[in-house]
């Protein structure tokens, strides 16, 4: 499915490029002068006292890399074309190679100082929360990792991007800018996503007819010192188990309904950012023919201080619960046979970042974690042996241009 979509969009993009090249060359200037190229590259290191995260981190792991390269070009005043290739290695997860991260045709219909309005199509980043759209670019994140409870890595494929159409608008109100984004399309999922969707269940089943809708309303004051946003996303897919597989799941729908409130303030050298998320995951008839609903909640708050333009120190508190009515995971343990602490995670992060130039970002973080909800089973296959309390040290060096 994802390969098909990739080729479909690659060919659409090529057609657009050919057509518009001819158009642009009829005017003044050569189009190659107007293509801007950017990229990023990172190397991370993780060390944990118990449990493995981002590779075999109990012995120290360097298996955390992100690399991307993108190009954008405006063939006509109102049109912008852009595409990015992404390579990512996250611990022992099977590398997926280089992927088409986005490929976008953007048509800005209205573009004045007071209003802007446009539409986009292609492979788009979902407009969700403050950080989803640039989640793989280290310098744009509030720390080395995004808050895991909110920007859950194992649901990344579902929430991150989609082959879709979108509309956007913004208006300058004088005291600030209000913006709106809406998107509808098909998420990019693979076999691993299907298993993750079923809470790590060992299924070879498939998800078909998957679709996602995302909307975000934001406000930012005129000098950008504070901003607010509310985002909503709704995923729906039809799960079909593989014939004769054990345990016997049943055919049914999966729904993921997410709402997020985001807020960020800057006051002189102080910085505060926080997001709160409601995540409902509903399985309709898949487990024993009954409906299962997990009403999850998660939030984080980060207080940071810009010691100088280059140095930034921060303290972050994160909490996430699979089900708000079962915060300690007792019912979760009974119904799934997994440890109770796999239903939540509470952690505190101490971080320091050094950005000597635009290009370079160096970070270090200490995580003190209670709970394993976002701990990947892949790195810790002995599920009963996953430890509730664990600490992690992360280092990262990143370059961009």
């Amino acid at each position: 499915m994802s390969r098909f979509a990739l080729w479909r969009f690659a060919s659409i993009l090529m057609l657009l490029l050919y057509g518009l090249t001819a158009y642009a060359e009829s005017g003044t200037g050569h189009w190659t002068d107007e293509v801007s190229i950017h990229g990023f590259l990172s190397q991370g290191y993780a060390n944990t006292d118990k449990n493995n995260f981002l590779g075999s981190s109990k012995n120290g792991s360097f298996d955390f890399n992100e690399a991307g390269i993108n190009a954008s070009w405006s063939p006509a005043n109102t049109v912008l074309l852009s595409a990015q290739l992404l390579y990512k290695r996250t611990g022992n997860a099977k590398p997926k190679g280089t992927q088409l991260d986005y490929a976008i045709a953007d048509w800005r219909i209205v573009d004045s100082f007071d209003y802007g309005l446009g539409i986009r199509g292609g492979r788009l980043k979902n407009p969700y929360g403050f950080f989803n759209e640039t989640r793989d670019v280290p310098a744009t994140r509030p720390g080395i990792l995004l808050p895991e409870g909110i920007y859950l890595e194992y649901l990344r494929e579902l929430i991150h991007s989609s082959d879709s159409v979108a509309g956007y608008a913004h208006r300058d109100l004088g005291h600030g800018i209000v913006s709106f984004d809406a998107l509808f399309g098909q998420p990019i999922i693979n076999d691993n996503t299907v298993r993750s969707l079923l809470g790590g269940a060992p299924t070879n089943g498939s998800v078909d007819n998957e679709r996602i809708g995302v909307a975000r309303l934001g406000y930012e004051n005129a000098n950008g010192n504070w901003r607010l946003a509310v985002s909503h996303s709704l995923f729906r897919g039809d799960f079909k188990p593989a014939p004769g597989e054990q345990p016997a799941f049943q055919e049914g729908d999966i729904l993921i309904d997410q709402t997020m409130l985001s807020v960020e303030f800057n006051w002189q050298k102080l910085h505060f950012v926080s997001e709160y998320q409601w995540r409902d995951i509903e399985y309709q008839g898949i487990f024993f023919g009954t409906d299962t609903l997990n009403e999850g909640i998660g939030f984080y708050g980060q207080l940071g201080y810009h010691i100088s333009p280059e140095w930034y120190a921060y303290l972050r508190k994160e909490e996430v619960y699979l089900n708000k009515d079962d915060k300690d995971g007792v019912n979760h343990a009974i119904s799934t046979g997994r440890p109770a602490h796999s239903a939540f995670a509470k952690n505190i992060v101490y971080g320091l970042r050094f950005q000597p130039t635009f290009e370079w970002t160096f970070g270090m973080e200490f995580h003190r974690v209670n709970g394993t909800v976002w701990l990947p089973d892949l790195e810790n296959p002995n599920i009963a042996g996953q430890k509730q309390y664990w600490d992690m040290i992360l280092l990262q060096a990143a370059y961009r241009f």
């Binding site: 990023f40 100082f113 130039t357």
Partner: protein, 156 residues
């Protein structure tokens, strides 16, 4: 051992933050008196048919939110590197924004494909030359730098 380390870390960070705040405040007061006289000016090519723009319009341009002049022709934004003191001063005293606010917008455009970043030039000489040569360009220079065939744009 990690346990003890974390117990040590909390008061250490607190102490560090308080000390840094005091230094930062002292530094701020110092900067306010020394940089007041030299606000960078916004410059455009001489033939651009606009005399003055509001502060919010200038911000809309430099944050890359608006892509076209009111007549429909493209805007080309030129800036110095993030670390350049003139750039920092332009953000602080002309746009009255924090440096990372503008960068945040540019990053979202550049790395999610929904816009473009500004053109980065290395010095004021290159800034002057590129603004002069490019239709619909906009940039900035320090007040008092001699300039021909570019014009300062008033902020009303």
């Amino acid at each position: 051992m990690l346990n003890q380390f974390f117990q040590f870390l909390r008061p250490a960070i607190l102490f560090f933050a308080v000390t840094a705040s005091i230094f930062a405040l002292a530094e701020n007061n110092h900067n306010d008196t020394s940089e007041k006289s030299r606000h960078p000016e916004v410059i455009v090519p001489e033939d651009l048919p606009y005399e003055a723009l509001s502060l919010n319009q200038i911000r809309a341009i430099f944050s890359m939110r608006v892509r076209r002049w009111p007549d429909g022709s493209p805007i080309t934004v030129m800036v110095l590197r993030d670390q350049n003191p003139i750039h920092k001063n332009f953000l602080k005293s002309t746009l009255q924004m924090l440096p990372h606010q503008l960068r945040r917008h540019w990053d979202r455009y550049i790395y999610s494909g929904i816009g473009q970043g500004p053109i980065v030039v290395t010095n004021q000489g290159e800034m002057l030359e590129k603004v002069r040569q490019t239709d619909g360009a906009i940039g900035y220079i320090e007040e008092g730098v001699p300039h021909e065939q570019v014009r300062a744009l008033a902020i009303r």
